[in-house]
């Protein structure tokens, strides 16, 4: 569906998108901005390596029918095997819409979901034409998001158990799922979120937007695990803004999907804010995975550490574009960034582009990118200890990813991710028992 068709679909769906005045005006504003901007093309510098053609030409229903009780229940049936931390609070989204009966337990004390009116007022107050120009798919999300969920953690509340957000898809055929989450962390609060994308049946398009606003001294850990079916298309924006001394730890794992574009924007807006970002992705069998990030060091003494690792096999393609901007006045910035890739097939491709823009003195910035094959010496060392070649190769590929996966602090999640990554690698049956 091209931009004009989307606009027409929006006009004819307005009654179904009913909501508060704030919702209506926010959606209209977004749609108008998108109509002017259109889908990004490869002529846009930020989209040079990723072609959205499968989305533009795909016949996705931008506003899938509300799942009825039955659909909701069958979605819950599909949750089997998706539990990660037993007993952890959970929210389930089906084609972008939050299921009322998806909560496994009550929300922890000090965490609440705000009403739609407040949520949309917030969205309207923070959205700008500039944001839609930079992130046009966020405009589409705003226009069509079936509902938005604003999760607020009150000041000084430290939530112990991770909050598990599960995104299912495919209740309707060829659906577009425009899930929208806002997370507000009050001063000195702590929250861990597991954002779990698992549209496991049928072709579809997930276009998710997550915005986190962190007040002073708060800490957000967000693990984002993408295990879509291999024909699924996935685009998203994760937008995090940190106030004084706030910290964020973001962990990406991409295993599924056909076309994956993850936009990340982090604004270290006040002094002492810091973020730690790591990501692992596998791309083979025609999969395309693009991690595109922009980190703004706006205030002094802010730190960022970003490391992505890609494993690219047969006909896979990995893209990394990481921009770090150190603004005037952000002295004492410490920014580190790396993109390392294993290219396992001559029919695979890796495009990696770190970018640094520095407008102040007294900063420490380091970045590096590598694309390589397995290390012949490591391979020989393992074989000289009796490990056969296939097993040694598999283990080394796994080890490449594992050195980032061990940063995952939730043991149940780490275990699941480690075995899921292993399960996607060749010959894991030979060495999987070692894990």
């Amino acid at each position: 569906m091209n931009a004009a068709e989307l606009s027409a679909a929006f006009d004819s769906s307005l009654d179904r998108l009913a909501g508060s005045d704030a919702s209506l005006s926010a959606r209209r504003q977004a749609m108008a901005a998108f109509a002017r901007r259109g889908f990004p093309t490869r002529r846009d510098e930020d989209w040079k390596y990723t072609d959205l053609k499968p989305i533009v030409t795909g016949r996705f229903d931008p506003l899938p029918t509300t799942p009825g009780e039955d659909d909701g229940r069958s979605a819950l049936d599909r949750l089997s095997g998706l539990e990660i931390v037993p007993g952890a609070p959970r929210m389930v989204f089906l084609d972008g819409r939050r299921l009322a009966n998806g909560e496994s337990t009550a929300l922890p004390r000090g965490v609440r979901i705000l009403d739609q009116r407040t949520t949309w007022q917030r969205i309207r107050s923070i959205q700008t034409e500039g944001q839609f120009r930079d992130y046009p798919l966020t405009a589409v999300n705003t226009a069509f998001s079936p509902d938005c969920t604003l999760i607020r953690v009150e000041a000084n509340v430290e939530v112990r158990q991770p909050l598990h957000l599960i995104y299912l898809g495919g209740a309707a055929a060829n659906s577009a799922a425009h899930a929208r989450i806002l997370i507000d962390l009050g001063p000195n609060s702590r929250l861990c979120v597991i954002q779990h994308f698992a549209a496991r049946e049928g072709a579809g398009w997930t276009n998710s937007v997550t915005q986190a606003t962190q007040e002073a001294g708060s800490h957000l850990t967000l693990y984002r695990l993408q295990e879509h079916a291999e024909e699924h298309l996935h685009t998203e924006l994760l937008d995090v803004r940190l106030a004084r001394d706030a910290g964020a730890r973001l962990g990406y794992v991409d295993l599924g999907g056909h076309l994956v574009r993850n936009d990340l924007r982090v604004q270290l807006a006040e002094a002492g804010a810091s973020c730690d970002i790591s990501g692992v992705f596998l791309a083979a069998r025609g999969q395309h995975v693009d991690n595109h990030s922009r980190i703004d060091h706006i205030a002094p003494h802010t730190t960022s550490d970003e490391a992505f690792r890609g494993i690219v096999g047969e006909r896979g393609r990995g893209v990394f574009n990481g921009k770090v901007v150190v603004h005037a006045g952000a002295q004492g910035t410490d920014a580190r960034q790396s993109s390392d890739n294993l290219l396992l097939s001559e029919h695979g491709e890796v495009d990696t582009k770190p970018e640094l823009e520095i407008y102040t003195d007294d900063v420490k910035c380091a970045h590096g990118a590598t694309v390589g094959e397995l290390d012949a010496q490591q391979l020989f060392y393992l074989r000289s200890r009796g490990m056969d070649e296939e097993t040694a190769r598999g283990l080394l590929i796994f080890a490449f990813a594992n050195s980032l996966l061990h940063r995952i602090e939730v043991p149940e999640l780490r275990k699941r991710v480690v075995s899921a990554v292993a399960g996607h690698l060749p010959d894991h049956e030979h060495w999987g028992g070692l894990l």
Binding site: D375, A376, Q377, Q378, F380, Y381, L382, R383, S384, R385, G386, M387, D388, E389, T391, A392, L395, L396, F398, A399, F400, A401, N402, S403, W431, L434, L435
Partner: protein, 256 residues
Amino acid sequence: MDETPLLQIDNLHASVEDRAILKGVNLKVRPGTVHAIMGPNGSGKSTLAQVLAGRDTYAVTDGTIRFGGKDLLDMAPEERAREGLFLAFQYPVEIPGVNNAYLLKAALNAQHASNGREQVDAFEFMQIIKNKMELMKISKEFLNRSVNTGFSGGEKKRNEILQMLVLEPRLAVLDETDSGLDVDALKVVATGINTLRHPERAAVLVTHYERLLELVVPDYVHVLSEGRIVKSGDQQLARALDERGYDWVREGAAGP
């Protein structure tokens, strides 16, 4: 003593990128013996060790190697290991993301699978390695660290010997395991090597210095020079080399 050689090298020629390095090496190693191979830098000592283990950057252009009666050159590196050949690396390789316990257990179980022995489980594994780790003065935390990653030079060498003790090879080839060690670490390493001396096993110590040979006394000492063994003897030869250097053996291979 069993007189059949465990290792028999005949007329071995090997080259790297068309540059000949080994130019006709002959060597017989019987079970129960320890051989030292000494020689100046660039004489081909490490090449010999790597060729024995099956490193494919070296091309064997002529000659044969038989190990336990089998054609060694016909075997993949992992088959050689499972047959009981162990190379302690001069520069042990760092492998971030693979921890020591995985590697040790995988190596042991690969050998067991090949010999038709049962796989060891986590408990048995701990029983097997506990004393050996104490002997090598290696602490328990080490098992959860990535292989050789961030290890000091001495730790890397002790780790090689620990692997050797766990695998109990029929033939251990130690490539300059002594270099870069202080006296205390050298003693630990020597103890490890001596622990494995056995009438059915043999060792080839590739070394540049004589001091290891005071702690692990060899039955035979060979001098490798320009790709050939130019002189053989016993520990006295090693001492003479230590005193007089290599020039006198290189020039015409006349006796001392």
